[in-house]
């Protein structure tokens, strides 16, 4: 036997041995000491919310032996791309916490399980608040009788003010946009690095100015009866002009053109800006950073010339169509969304739960949270609405709007040109939808249920 042959054979043996060795730990390692099938859950809710969800999942894991829920938090900025990659790559998570803006996309990709059979046979469905179900319909998590997602958390916007600034100036929270503009002017002392408003010029700014456009137009419609896009109407343009003027007139930090959620909230609690409009969860963030009743006041949103708008949205729980343990997954939904767990979660993180009992919960309806609950429960306010049935809405909000609104803030284009471009994009998406599915598209509901 020659040395060279021996060495080649030895090499093969070594390689084979190494491969076997590498494979063995994989066989035993996946299950660990807990051999229950795992249900992976992707959540982009962030910080304390993900932690609260993980705590509830652990509680669930301890009380039953069939399955274990594994919570995987993903940063909000990366969540959309991460979920898309997982779905497109054929390896979706079992459970997903989804923004209303993503539902149509993921449904169109056949990524979500139709959970109607479980939902309609579940007595717990009657606990859902009408508003939570309505927002789920707007988000297309519920389409007719078909259910793709269950409401988990209702969000609503209100105004946050620096109370000491108001007291110094002898001002009260503004009731109208006209008063609000005056208030911003009085609060702004740029030499002292004090600005009236924390404007969201980057991602998510749409949710700020769209409400103002609706206030000026007194409608939450996006299309007329003939499916022509109306978001660039003269009244909508006036609303956007109002928002643009806040930036151009220096009532917000110049850097705010690049501000997203994090910078925005920090701009407020750090004392640079006098007010922001934000969801109820930001109350917790402000309190964490030392704000209390002597420094913080929350109020309902000011009314525009023609309407007062309540900007609501919903987070929904969905199940992947590729999930193997569908019964177990739905059983987890049932437990998690029962009033006891839903309200416990909501109290812990300061949000509005999707169940009726939560809407009258004293803890969630008092103090800083009162204006939020007032806005949710007031049927006279105009409720914002988006055509979430259009799969292009994700790109519209995430890319188109941010780019075009920044071009406007940079004075590269006027508010009219900005809305014209956005209307063209959304008009093309609507036409595609109507061509395919017919003219019977979802429309804004008449009143909150």
């Amino acid at each position: 036997m020659s040395l060279s042959v021996l060495s080649r054979r030895s090499m093969l043996k070594i390689a084979g041995g190494a491969m076997l060795g590498a494979m063995l730990p994989g066989c035993g390692g996946s299950g660990g000491s807990d051999d229950r099938p795992a249900l992976s859950l992707i959540t982009p809710l962030g910080g304390s919310k993900d932690a609260a969800l993980a705590r509830l999942a652990n509680q669930y894991n301890e009380m039953q032996s069939k399955v274990r829920v594994v919570v995987n938090p993903v940063p909000w900025d990366l969540a959309h791309a991460k979920l898309l990659t997982m779905i497109a790559g054929g390896n979706p998570p079992d459970l997903m916490m989804l923004s209303g803006m993503w539902m149509a996309e993921f449904r169109a990709m056949n990524a979500l399980e139709d959970i109607s059979p479980w939902f309609h046979n579940w007595s717990g469905k009657d606990d859902f608040a009408p508003l939570a179900l309505q927002r789920s319909r707007i988000a297309t998590a519920i389409v007719g009788d078909t259910v793709f997602g269950l409401p988990f958390e209702v969000t609503v916007r209100a105004m946050f003010y620096q109370k000491k600034w108001l007291d110094e100036l002898g001002l009260q929270p503004a009731d109208t946009r006209e008063q609000w503009r005056t208030l911003l002017e009085k609060m702004t002392i740029s030499d002292k690095n004090r600005y009236g408003y924390a404007l969201r010029g980057s991602r998510g700014g749409f949710w700020s100015w769209w409400a103002i456009a609706e206030e000026y137009a007194s409608t939450n419609e996006w299309f007329d009866a003939d499916h022509r896009c109306i978001i660039n109407s003269p009244d909508h343009v006036k609303g956007l002009e109002y928002w643009n003027a806040i930036f151009q007139d220096g009532l917000t930090p110049p850097d705010s053109i690049n501000w997203g959620y994090t910078e925005l909230v920090q701009g407020f609690w750090s004392g640079v800006c006098g007010c922001i409009e934000q969801d109820n969860e930001v109350v917790g963030t402000c309190v964490e950073h030392g704000m209390d009743a002597s420094t913080l006041v929350t109020a309902i949103m000011p009314a525009g010339p023609k309407a007062r708008v309540t900007s609501n949205d919903i987070w929904t729980f969905a199940m992947s169509s590729a999930t193997k343990n569908k019964d177990a997954a739905y059983a987890f939904f049932e437990w998690l969304l029962a009033p006891e767990q839903a309200i416990s979660y909501a109290r812990e993180v300061g949000v509005i739960p999707p169940v009726k009992q939560g809407f009258s919960d004293p803890e969630l309806s008092s103090g800083f949270y009162k204006p939020f609950m007032d806005m949710i429960n007031d049927p006279t306010m105009l409720q914002n609405w988006y055509p979430n049935y259009l799969p292009e809405m994700g790109e519209f909000v995430e890319v188109m709007v941010t780019r075009e609104q920044q071009n406007m803030l940079l004075k590269r284009q006027s508010p009219q040109e900005t809305l014209d471009k956005l209307a063209d994009f959304i008009q093309a998406a609507e036409k595609k939808y109507v061509d395919r599915y017919g003219p019977d598209t979802p429309r804004p509901p008449e009143k909150i249920g």
Partner: protein
Amino acid sequence: MPRKSEPYLLLAPAYLLIGGFMLYPMVSVVLLSLHKYQLTDPLDRPFIGLDNYRAILGDAHFLESLANSAVWVGLSLAAQFALGFALSLLLNTTSFRGKGLYQAVIFTPWAVSGFLIALIWAWMLNGEFGLVNDLFLRFGLIDTKIGFLSNERTALLSCVVANVWFGITFFAIMLYAALQAIPASLYEAADMDGASAWQTFWRVTVPMVRPTITVTVLLRAIWIFNWADLIWVMTKGGPGAASQTLALYVFQKAFIGLDFGYAAALGVTLAGLSLAFTVVWLRIGRFHEEASA
């Protein structure tokens, strides 16, 4: 085992891996670029020939992104190379106590994730709360804060600065290794011939490290061209599209616009541009002459 088949058997894993992990995705992307493939419309995937490529030619965002990419790659690469080379020369010619520790520290940025680097720099350059503005104000260099990331003239340059900080290390590591491989006898001969420091640098050092320079510049140029994470985290391509590069545009089209067909065509174009640059650069760098010498 028959001896004839043995070499093929041994090579098979490598071919399978290359085929599976490189060839298949490349062919898939090219095929994808010839189809309409909107991820939200997965059942309607007709073959559309070169339509996606024709659309690119009329896409104003493509041209703007390409121009930004040229600035992004050109400035980043030039500064990284110049500073990296200078650093490697300093390390090669100086000796001091704790040099090993010093080397380890300055090479650290290369080990940090791009996402983290982008976050750190985004906060440092923040126009309201950033460290850089604070230092400039304290030292009296500016009167009012600068919105580095919110100004259309400085947004891309700010990303370049972060990229330079990150990439200097790469050139320093590679060129330092190449410098250490130059035989001392060459410097001794140059010294005996009365060569000046400048002549020694141009006639001995540069020719000896030229193959390394050619390869490292090529690699880094392609990496920077394809690198979207840093800009995405720092500016999201904004304000407007002031810092949107081609790689970022591909990412946005694919993972936000969900238009995988168009994104694939953009990706193939990006790969084509990288390939063209590679061919030109290797010719300029006379890499083949060196390799065969």
